[in-house]
């Protein structure tokens, strides 16, 4: 039998070829190169499934494929690492990418957009970069593909570059994530300097080396005699900078809402399901390293919890469909970070999976609505679309229920597990408990804004003529929606931990077993191993594990239903009105996103001032050698000019004086006059 792992490079290269084809020959192809992209992602998807099957068959893959720079101290390589985590991620990314490609036929081609080859080339390159990131076997390779992903994001957000908004949003996204990536890059260098390798897995990988060093059996370099634990925390936080930027965590989340300027399928693929997931995936990928440093974990958890609540509150007042979804995305990634910080590795991956499906679904549903509404995104202009586009409605509803965390949709299971992990581990950790509380508070808010969105869009009476007579959508929109809608309902069942715990049914927590290398995997990259490394101990309330599970699930579900109910009361009426006035002064704060954009602009300007200072320094002192000498030379030159009077008698006088000066100098030096 042919080895599935031999096709790992093909998974990455297929979309890359579609990028090349779309770029080079896209304008000669039907549909602007869409079919090439669909074929490539379909191929990648099938290969990913095959690879996942191979992993399920008990095997794993960790090979260096290409060494592109070899030095005395370390080698810089490209390689592939296939373990349960990356196999799962491959399937998610290729599936969503495939569906988005199909959806794009309806959203872009049918709408008569121009520049389609550029669009499909961007999608192809993005998919290739993301897959390359997923299979990366070392941190440097991951960083490189991470940057490529960011570049594609920039290109696709700015797809409509002739309008004023998209280019500026693209620039913002690029710059803000780049800001985080600077720390990431420094972190990569630090990892190389510390361990001499950046490999994720294996005996000589850096998490393994760090573990050994902390156990006292290894020797790693730390700068300036810093304590090892402190230094590892610093390195972890540096890499975390990239994660915070890419996964849109506070305070670098501001780019993501603006990124909604891009085409909606792009928002679905990049800014919801995959690229934003890259940050979380990276933490999961090197979780063996983060688990060693409790401080980093606490920071991750706190940032995550805070972001979850914080973004959710902003989503409450948004008027545009995609804006609500954007803030919900930020909020959901906050949950994943909370899970990772709380030691819930499996919970985070679980939520990553379910979120990828239901958020892609919601975005594509929103795209469908946007097609129907002729690119009007204001929810107050919609209403009553339920009966006019039922497929969209029901799938969107499924996604919304998942997002709100309503039993038994996918989001319920994953969010519940996150909160459960945070609770049981947080009982002994105040910071973590704070994260848990914030995550819990975000639940009703999430349910509220989700259903505010659903009700405003689909329920009630049409508030505009456009909403009364929406443009119909075709199979290429409905197809992906249906697939994702089904997944949003069922994905949760792959990991029914509460059911297992309450009913005592062993073996239905498939994802746990999958990530615990039960079928196959790489030593040292299992959730079990991470749990051993992690600093947390479990505590329970209400006298035991089962009651804790039940209480936690009941509380979160109750809160979600409460939020849903409030939305129902306020907005599921024939002609809903804005209730934001009731929020009083908070409204403005929320509308303006807590003035964080302003703060960032202010910081940017202060940075510019500092840069200006540095510039002055550079101009004044560094360039002083050049410019300064030049101005001195101009000044001195004019002095010289004054010496050159044009009077030959003065020349003779100065010549003689110069000679005498020379005579005196040498005479005194040589002692001739004594």
């Amino acid at each position: 039998m042919v080895d599935a792992f031999a096709y790992v490079p093909a998974v990455v290269l297929l979309p890359f070829f579609s990028f090349l084809v779309a770029l080079g020959a896209g304008k000669y192809l039907p549909k602007g190169g869409a079919f090439g992209g669909i074929a490539a992602t379909a191929g990648s998807f099938l290969l990913s499934l095959w690879i996942a099957t191979a992993v399920a068959g008990g095997r794993a893959y960790n090979e260096t494929l290409y060494t592109w720079a070899a030095g005395d101290q370390f080698e810089l390589t490209f390689g592939a690492l296939i373990d349960p985590l990356s196999a799962l991620m491959l399937v998610i990314v290729t599936l969503v990418a495939l569906l988005v490609h199909v959806f794009s036929l309806g959203y872009m081609n049918d709408e008569g957009e121009t520049g389609l080859p550029r669009y499909y080339a961007g999608l192809g390159l993005f998919t290739a970069s993301m897959l390359g990131f997923v299979v990366a076997d070392n941190l440097l390779m991951a960083f490189m593909f991470f940057e490529l992903v960011g570049l594609c994001s920039y290109l696709l957000i700015g797809f409509h570059f002739r309008e004023p908004g998209p280019p500026s949003a693209a620039k913002k996204a690029f710059l803000v994530t780049r800001f985080g990536d600077y720390f990431f890059l420094v972190g990569v260098v630090a990892v190389f300097a510390t361990f001499g390798t950046a490999a994720f897995a294996g005996e000589g990988s850096f998490p393994a080396l760090a573990e050994a060093a902390l156990a006292g059996s290894g020797d790693v370099w730390t700068p300036g005699g810093l304590e090892l634990q402190t230094w590892l925390t610093v390195v972890g936080l540096l890499v975390l900078g990239g994660v915070v930027g890419k996964s849109a965590q506070f305070p670098l989340h501001t780019w993501l809402p603006d990124a909604m300027e891009g085409p909606t399928p792009v928002s679905a693929l990049i800014h919801a399901a995959t690229m934003v997931a890259a940050g979380v995936y990276l933490v999961a990928r090197m979780y063996g390293f983060y688990a060693l440093t409790p401080t980093t974990l606490a920071v991750i958890a706190f940032i995550g919890g805070f972001t979850a609540l914080f973004a959710a509150t902003m989503g409450v007042v948004k008027d545009e469909l995609k804006q609500v979804l954007a803030y919900s995305t930020i909020s959901q990634y906050g949950y994943m970070m909370l899970a990772l910080g709380a030691g819930g590795y499996v919970a985070a991956v679980f939520h990553l999976t379910t979120h990828a499906f239901f958020k892609a679904l919601l975005f594509l549903g929103a795209g469908s609505v946007i097609i129907a509404m002729h690119h009007n995104e204001d929810m107050w202009d919609m209403g009553g679309l339920k009966s006019r586009m039922p497929v969209t409605y029901y799938t969107f509803l499924a996604g919304s229920l998942a997002l709100a965390g309503i039993f038994p949709f996918a989001g319920f299971w994953s969010k519940d597990e996150i909160l459960y992990e945070a609770l049981v581990h947080g009982l002994n950790e105040p910071l973590l408990l704070g994260g848990y509380v914030m995550g819990l508070l975000a639940v009703p808010v999430t349910a509220f804004y989700t259903f505010r969105m659903v009700f405003l869009t689909f329920h009630g009476e049409p508030r505009t003529d456009l909403a009364a007579d929406p443009e119909p959508v075709r199979w290429n929109v409905k197809g992906p929606l249906t697939v994702l809608g089904s997944l949003a309902v069922v994905t949760g069942f792959i990991n029914m931990v509460p059911v297992q715990k309450v009913l005592g049914l062993e073996g239905i927590d498939y994802l746990h077993r999958w990530l615990d290398n039960e079928w196959g995997g790489i030593e040292g990259l299992s959730s079990h191993h991470y749990a051993d490394l992690g600093p947390y101990s479990s505590g329970y309330i209400a006298g035991g594990e089962v009651p804790t599970v039940l209480v936690g699930a009941a509380v979160s579900l109750g809160l979600a239903l409460a939020g849903l109910g409030l939305a129902w009361r306020l907005y599921n009426v024939t002609s809903p009105t804005e209730h934001t006035a009731k929020l009083g002064g908070i409204k403005d704060v929320l509308y303006n996103n807590y003035y964080l954009d302003e703060l960032q602009v202010w910081i940017a300007y202060r940075t510019e001032d500092i840069a200006g200072g540095a510039d002055t320094f550079d101009q004044g002192i560094i360039d002083g050698v050049v410019n300064g000498v030049s101005s001195v030379s101009l000044l001195g030159g004019s002095r010289v000019r004054r010496i050159q009077t044009g009077l030959v008698t003065q020349y003779a006088a100065m010549l003689t004086l110069g000679l005498i000066a020379l005579l005196v100098l040498l005479g005194v030096n040589g002692g001739w006059f004594l």
């Binding site: 050698v625 050049v626 000498v629 030049s630 001195v632 030379s633 101009l634 001195g636 030159g637 004019s638 010289v640 000019r641 050159q644 044009g646 030959v648 020349y651 003779a652 100065m654 010549l655 003689t656 004086l657 110069g658 000679l659 020379l662 005579l663 100098l665 040498l666 005479g667 030096n669 040589g670 002692g671 001739w672 006059f673």
Partner: protein, 503 residues
């Protein structure tokens, strides 16, 4: 070959130059009203080239080289032909050839151009004689032989006030400097009792109480050399002479005449006043040259930076380059093995400089021929009308500034490296700083020619002639500047061999 040919034939490069000059005078005497600019130029160019080829042949044949019987001395030791003298004669002859070719177009409408050619050749003869001088008396006579035609050449445009004024100033300062120089020679003679270099050197060590007298004499000789090389504080004539003189003359003076000053300095200060003996007699002339080099390159470059006229900028830049070349005398230390490298690098720099600086001045000559004006602004947009010449000028400028691809970089690099290795980091550092300054004003020319727009669209309409000979000279100088790049290995080897003969 020296065993076959009579010994005086070793002087044939100088003799060829002098005879050509005499022949020109003779022809002009016989037919004074025949305006034969072209034939005059051709004859003088042929004479200069013949001298050059003989020199090159001598170098290849090894005349005066240690391998073929050592230096040839003539006239009771007053004249000495060796590798260094041939090296410098080659510089003089090349520059002379370039200048006379270029002058053909510059003086196309002059009434009596014959005097120009013969004066140039006489000055070149004097320079060739300077290169072989082995006695202070010959040095002085040859120096005057260079100076007197130079004065006349600077004032050659009799109707031009600037030219005449420059000539007069040059003459007055020159007279003063010659007096200083001669006084210095007399003091050295008083202290040592000889004019022949070797004998002077023998006496320097046993000066005893007369070391002060000899010291003052040596400083005065330094002054004379400084005049010839246009070094501070004897430089005052240079900016005005270069600016006022016809541009080919400026080229000749700033390249060949300067090199002549250096050949004297190199020979006198290594053979007549050897470093070890001088230091033993408390005559630290290295210090004097150090001070001169530092002051000269700084003043030259800084003054060049503020000039508005290209020709005057070139004049100051040539003062700056004199400062660089002075490093060859300033960065010496007694008994150091690096002395040859430093002095050889200075000689190589003078050779490279001979081409690039001559070329730059000839470009100015071309601009004067076109009549487009003298300032940087007047050169704006010139590259559109005269791309070839402007490219050549850019080559000169970058090479003068010492940018890497050009020969000027290598000579400067070897010079500074030699200085550093000999322990004169401060001189090399100062030279590097000055090179940075020089980049500023050299690039101004290039920017004006290639990037700026002319002040008025009709500003460049004056370019209506194509002075072929000037073009040829400029392009040849540019080609030489570039070709010295691959040929730099042999050049620096020849220069170091020449320097090695001195130590």
């Amino acid at each position: 070959m020296s065993s076959v040919a009579p010994a005086w034939s070793a002087l044939s490069p100088a003799l060829l130059l002098g005879l050509t000059g005499l022949a020109l005078l003779l022809v002009d005497t016989i037919r004074p009203n025949e305006r034969s600019n072209t034939s005059m130029a051709v004859v003088s160019a042929l004479g200069a080239l013949a001298s050059l080829s003989v020199t090159v042949w001598f170098v290849i044949a090894g005349t005066g080289h240690a391998d073929t019987g050592g230096a040839i001395t003539l006239l009771e030791g007053a004249v000495k032909v060796d590798t260094m003298s041939l090296f410098f004669t080659a510089i003089f002859a090349s520059v002379t050839a370039l200048v006379v070719v270029a002058a053909h177009d510059y003086f196309h409408d002059h009434q009596r151009p014959a005097a120009f050619y013969s004066l140039t050749l006489f000055a070149a003869t004097g320079m060739a004689l300077l290169a072989v001088a082995n006695s202070l008396a010959i040095v002085f006579v040859a120096l005057e032989m260079v100076s007197l035609p130079s004065y006349a050449l600077v004032a050659f445009l009799k109707k031009n006030r600037g030219s005449v004024e420059a000539g007069l100033k040059y003459f007055l300062i020159g007279a003063l400097s010659s007096a200083v120089f001669l006084f210095g020679i007399s003091l050295v003679y008083a202290a040592t009792g000889s004019l022949i270099f070797g004998e002077v050197a023998g006496q320097i060590e046993s000066l005893d109480t007369l070391s002060g007298v000899a010291g003052i004499g040596i400083v005065m000789i330094v002054g004379g050399v400084a005049f010839k090389t246009a070094s501070v504080p004897f430089h005052f004539w240079a900016p005005e002479a270069y600016e006022g003189a016809p541009a080919p003359v400026s080229a000749f003076l700033s390249s060949a005449s300067k090199a002549a000053g250096f050949v004297v300095a190199f020979r006198v200060f290594t053979e007549a006043f050897p470093l070890g003996a001088s230091l033993a007699a408390d005559i630290n002339w290295v210090l004097a040259f150090g001070v001169l080099a530092a002051v000269t390159m700084t003043l030259g470059n800084f003054a060049a930076a503020v000039q508005e006229e290209v020709k005057r900028m070139l004049a100051y830049s040539s003062i700056g380059h004199a400062g660089y070349a002075l490093i060859g005398l300033a960065a010496l230390s007694a008994g150091s093995a690096g002395n040859e490298a430093v002095m050889g690098a200075a000689m190589a720099h003078l050779l490279v400089y001979g081409f690039m600086n001559t070329g730059a001045f000839l470009f100015v000559a071309m601009a004067e021929r076109w009549g487009i004006g003298r300032t940087f602004e007047d050169y704006a947009g010139l590259a559109r009308r005269a791309p070839v010449a402007c490219t050549a000028m850019a080559v000169f400028m970058f090479s003068l500034a010492g940018l890497p691809p050009f020969a000027g970089f290598f000579s400067k690099y070897f010079l500074f490296m030699g200085a550093i290795e000999n322990g004169f980091l401060w001189l090399a550092g100062l030279g590097a700083v000055n090179s940075v300054v020089s980049l500023y004003y050299y690039s101004r020319v290039v920017r004006a020619m290639f990037l700026d727009d002319p002040a008025t669209p009709s500003a460049l309409d004056a370019i209506d002639v194509r002075p072929t000979a000037l073009y040829a000279a400029v392009v040849f100088a540019a080609v030489a500047t570039v070709l010295l790049l691959p040929g730099f290995g042999p050049v620096i080897e020849a220069a170091e061999a020449a320097a090695a003969a001195l130590f």
